[in-house]
């Protein structure tokens, strides 16, 4: 097996190299998905184009409400990002359960999104934050909502010569908090059997508003739970409200049976985690504000 390894120094070179090889080349960043898949399937690309030496895509920018993640930002960076401590905690919670330490040190957020695994743990919270991804290719630059970027399992709208450069999102305007939970058989090195992220805001009159829920690993791609979101708008947290939320989440799941879990267990967990994410997020709003007043 021969594998051409290319190390462009500029974005333009990277795009040109990819363009010249048609679909035969793959971009590589952390390589924690690409290499494993190639090893497993034996389907190695003819060339890999290393993005790591291109400057400018490795930073987390912004002080809120607008933020951007360079596509080469590692999960470790997100996990340790102090700007995400607090209301955006779900970003850190998502990042810190991906793989193990060694994986998170090299695996990038851009890679996690472009790999488009239905179980990719960064996707649900970024869906909740209405993230948009920037792509640069031979046809120029474009910005695509993350919800439209991922089309299905391992399938995105990215052209083979397009590099993801940035993921941008804005924090909600009102008092809010966020939560990420995942189910799996162990506490690290675990592919989610269900992942659930939520962002919940509080209206001035103490009701839930602008609720956003997204679920991973329970269908061909991570999705927003729009029915549950609509239902929760303007509601006050109660046992009944949570029950209904859980039922709506379970109904939105279209999971598969596999060696990790049965479809019915995934559906069950979808309901449980949806409830918990909403409840936790709501409780966190007041905790965050209590902390602020205490400080």
């Amino acid at each position: 097996m021969k594998l051409e390894f290319l190390a462009p120094q500029t974005l333009q070179d990277a795009v040109t190299m990819a363009k010249a090889r048609g679909g035969a080349a793959r971009f590589i960043a952390g390589g924690t998905d690409l290499i494993i898949q190639a090893r497993k399937s034996g389907a190695w690309p003819e060339a890999v184009i290393n993005l790591q030496q291109i400057p400018g895509f490795g930073e987390i920018k912004g002080t809120g409400p607008n933020f951007s993640l360079g596509s080469l930002v590692t999960h470790r960076q997100i996990e340790r990002e102090i700007r995400f401590a607090g209301a955006l905690e779900a970003l850190r919670e998502s990042a810190c359960v991906i793989g193990g330490h060694q994986v998170r040190n090299v695996a990038t957020v851009g890679g996690n999104l472009c790999n488009a695994s239905p179980a990719a743990d960064m996707v649900p919270i970024l869906l909740c934050l209405n993230a948009e991804v920037a792509l640069a290719g031979s046809e120029g630059r474009r910005v695509v909502p993350l919800a439209n970027f991922i089309e299905g399992p391992r399938k995105t709208v990215r052209a083979s010569d397009e590099v993801m450069t940035e993921i941008a999102f804005a924090a909600p305007a009102q008092k809010f908090s966020s939560t990420f939970l995942k189910g799996g058989r162990r506490r690290a090195m675990e592919i989610s059997i269900v992942a659930m992220a939520g962002v919940v805001s509080a209206s001035p009159d103490g009701k839930m508003t602008d609720v956003r829920l997204a679920m991973g690993a329970a269908g061909p791609k991570a999705i927003r739970l729009t029915e549950a979101e609509k239902f929760l708008e303007g509601k006050v947290l109660s046992k009944d409200v949570l029950e209904e939320t859980g039922m709506l989440a379970a109904a939105a799941a279209s999971p598969i049976d596999d060696v990790r879990a049965s479809a019915s267990f995934r559906r069950h967990l979808a309901g449980v985690y949806a409830r918990r994410v909403v409840e936790l997020s709501w409780n966190r709003i007041s905790e965050l504000n209590d902390d602020r007043s205490a400080a």
């Binding site: 097996m1 162990r186 090195m189 675990e190 985690y273």
Partner: protein, 760 residues
């Protein structure tokens, strides 16, 4: 407390620590030779069928390829521990998906792998059988249609797919069950789990003149590898030299041949050294995992909680070859009787072929499976009788002088102490401290495997002592333990001992690093050697000091006569110039464990030697909605006879518990029509550091009469109890009694849902 010992009982760093932590140790996978080629295996893609043809032309033409080796290149020879049902390469038919059919030898491992994919094997597929329950049916397809032609040890009773039918019988079970106030019958099913060593199996083989085979490998048993390779290639054992490299974990998974035979077959054909290393996928599909068992267990008790009788029917799934499973089918009965006094027993066990991965001797073979059944049922019965599970155990456990189920007289029985200490440490009185939280307890006994050990102990003129043993260090630090025994007995510091190990040409025979025996048996051989060295020292000192040998006293390595003395170093220097050095051959063989042979039928393992006793307890919470189990505290109380090195005993306990937690909660090789669905470490879920709980180890020292300074076997027991202990705690926490391993979150939730729906 003042210890009478200088070296044993102290937590010295292991003697091989420096090489391992500095990366200088040469493991099997590191080992390389000049001119070495690489081999890769071609595996069967079907579970059962005849081989019609093996097309190798395309592979031979591929870059870097030297040879393709098949069954046609080596003697037609079957081998195996109890039944000779294995062959190096499948010759006429295949019996499981993953079975080696051929091997490709190439310049690089990558070239060999690519070419292995180009070897075309044509099969005539035949009916296969995947469960023991199907395999024992009269009309079941035969995994080995030629089974009657296989040689086997005389003890075993075979029939079709059944490789042994053994029984352990005492008293009159039917009568006793009729007399019982309550009779409980349950089925327990255990999982197929991989030993999980960090380093895959690796070997390099080279033939000199086509006659002398030299193998370097990470085998646990160099002498067994030597004997088996000699058998396979129809040469004498002394034509085979096996050197053991540093080993990255064994856990019993490297007892039998791993890849040594493929390397030897390939090297023979190609005339150059050939290296084989198992891939992760090969490890998960064609290594030697633990046998899964189906255990139907019936127990009769009085309402006061006295066990009157136990009956069991056990099916041991050995996979496509019988391997160690015949032994498991025997020893599981000793485990199922448990460390309990039971006047009536009728345990029946069958080891059975299926068209799946051949199984092996994973740490404490039969231990976790048998213990899961017996200790789960103990709790079920206790609950039904309204007796505290600890109290129920205390009413039935064996005590000093009792007879074990096989009739052997038990000595140094510390089980009550272990149970009480474990209960105390976990806070047993508060067994259900809050909703969703519960505690569990389980106990067991285990053997210290016998077999002979030899050591050469050689003292250099500078006082350095070489411990030369045929036993391999598989990572447990047990050879450091043996060295501590030697240092203690010889009266030297541990630091002056160097270990030379695992070379069939230069080290004396040892039955090997298996069955919790290394420190025990090698340590005893060291003590024997020290006795002989002391005699030599006396003779030499007598000459020098003008005394009679019997007038010389030896104290802390110094020979004394009145106010005159000679140090070990001085005596060794004299011995070197006058009589070829100071050296002794120490040997040990455990005395036979006497037991009642009338009780056992066709059992290949009938006794528990120098038994150790132990209890585990756990405190955990179960999330009833997600099924997630969180372990707050895990307690182990283990009788080790004498703690030679407490740190490494704790290491064995902690490692064993985590490995046992894997079997209890998360690990399982999953098959679908004979194909492994999770052949990698992504979906074969061994616990990570994040999953390892706080483990507290308490060491009990109830000395054995046989072990060095009273030591008992240590390494295997910690892996036995976690499945039962955890199952019991889960049942206590959320009323979900799971009788199949692993106890996944999904099973817990499903069981709780059924309980709430049926109201049971």
């Amino acid at each position: 407390m003042n210890s009478p010992f200088r070296v044993i009982g102290k937590s010295f760093p292991r003697l091989d620590a420096r090489g391992k932590v500095s990366g200088k140790a040469i493991y099997g996978t590191d080992f390389a030779m000049q001119g070495m080629l690489h081999g890769k295996l071609v595996h069967s893609t079907i579970a059962s069928g005849e081989i019609l043809s093996v097309e190798i032309e395309e592979a031979l033409a591929m870059p870097g390829v030297y040879e393709v080796v098949t069954a046609a290149d080596i003697p037609a020879q079957r081998y195996g521990s109890f039944v000779k049902d294995m062959e190096v390469f499948a010759s006429k038919r295949v019996n499981f998906v993953g079975q080696p059919v051929a091997a490709v030898v190439a310049r690089t491992a990558e070239e060999a792998e690519a070419a292995a994919k180009a070897v075309r094997v044509e099969y005539k597929e035949q009916a296969a059988v995947f469960t023991t329950e199907d395999a024992v049916k009269a009309d079941a397809p035969l995994v080995h249609p030629g089974w009657q032609e296989y040689k086997a040890v005389p003890t075993v009773k075979r029939q079709g797919n059944i490789t042994n039918q053994a029984r352990l019988v005492l008293g009159d079970v039917d009568k006793a069950l009729k007399k019982s106030d309550r009779v409980f019958t349950h089925r327990f099913v255990t999982n197929i789990v991989h030993p999980g060593y960090t380093e895959p199996r690796a070997a390099i083989a080279h033939w000199a003149d086509g006659k002398q085979l030299h193998v370097w490998s990470n085998t646990q048993l160099p002498f067994e590898a030597q004997a088996t390779l000699a058998e396979i290639f129809k040469i004498t054992p002394s034509q085979v030299r096996v050197n053991v490299t540093v080993i990255g974990g064994g856990f019993g998974g490297k007892l039998r041949l791993g890849v040594e035979h493929y390397a030897a077959a390939a090297a023979l054909k190609v005339g150059r050294p050939v290296k084989f290393v198992s891939s992760c996928e090969e490890e998960m599909t064609a290594a030697l995992p633990r046998q899964p068992l189906v255990i139907d267990l019936t127990t009769g008790v009085t309402k006061e909680g006295k066990i009157l009788a136990k009956a069991a029917s056990i099916l041991v799934d050995t996979g496509a070859t019988s391997g160690s499973g015949v032994g498991v089918a025997s020893s599981v009965m000793l485990m199922l009787a448990g460390p309990y006094k039971i006047p009536n027993l009728r345990l029946e066990s069958r080891s059975v072929y299926t068209n799946k991965t051949p199984t092996g001797s994973f740490r404490a073979p039969a231990g976790p499976q048998g213990n899961f059944a017996v200790e789960s049922q103990m709790d079920i019965i206790a609950d039904a009788l309204g007796i505290d599970p600890l109290e129920f155990r205390l009413r039935n456990i064996v005590r000093e002088g009792d007879l074990a189920p096989n009739g052997q007289k038990l000595e140094s029985v510390s089980l009550e102490e272990c149970l009480l200490k474990a209960a105390d440490a976990i806070g047993w009185k508060d067994r259900r401290p809050e909703p969703g939280r519960g505690k569990g307890i389980a106990c067991a006994w285990w053997t210290t495997t016998s077999g002979s050990s030899g050591v050469y102990v050689k003292v250099g003129p500078d006082g350095q002592v070489f411990l030369n043993t045929g036993c391999a260090e598989i990572g447990t630090a047990a050879l450091t333990g043996a060295a501590q025994v030697l240092a203690e007995a010889l009266g030297v510091e541990l630091g002056s001992i160097q270990i030379v190990s695992g070379d069939t040409a230069s080290t004396p025979f040892d039955y090997g690093a298996q069955g919790s025996r290394t420190a025990f048996a090698v340590g005893n051989a060291c003590i024997d050697a020290v006795g002989k060295l002391h005699q030599r020292m006396k003779e030499i000192a007598a000459k020098q000091l003008s005394a009679k040998p019997e007038e010389i006293e030896i104290e802390n390595g110094v020979a004394k006569f009145g106010d005159k003395s000679l140090t070990l170093k001085e005596i060794a220097a004299i011995a070197q110039t006058s009589q070829g050095g100071l050296i002794a051959h120490g040997t040990f063989i455990a005395p036979p464990t006497l037991h009642d042979k009338e009780r056992t039928e066709n059992m290949v393992i009938t006794a528990i030697n120098s038994p150790s006793f132990h209890a585990h307890a756990v405190d955990l919470s179960v999330d009833a909605e997600t099924g997630e189990v969180k372990i707050h505290d895990y307690v182990v109380v283990q009788d080790v006879g004498r703690a030679i090195n407490p740190t490494y005993i704790e290491g064995q306990i902690e490692g064993g518990v985590v490995q046992g937690i894997g079997q209890a909660l998360s690990e399982e090789i999953v098959y679908e029509n004979g194909i492994v669905r999770n052949p990698g470490l992504t979906d074969y879920k061994m616990p990570t550091a994040m999953d390892a709980p706080n483990i507290r180890s308490f060491i009990v020292e109830s000395p054995s009469k046989v072990g060095p300074y009273g030591a008992k076997g240590v390494g295997e027991p910690p892996v036995i109890h976690p499945p039962a202990t955890i199952a019991n705690a889960i049942a206590s926490a959320v009323s979900a009694r799971i009788q199949t391993l692993p106890i996944t979150a999904e099973k817990i939730v499903r069981t709780l849902t059924e309980v709430s729906e049926t109201g049971k």
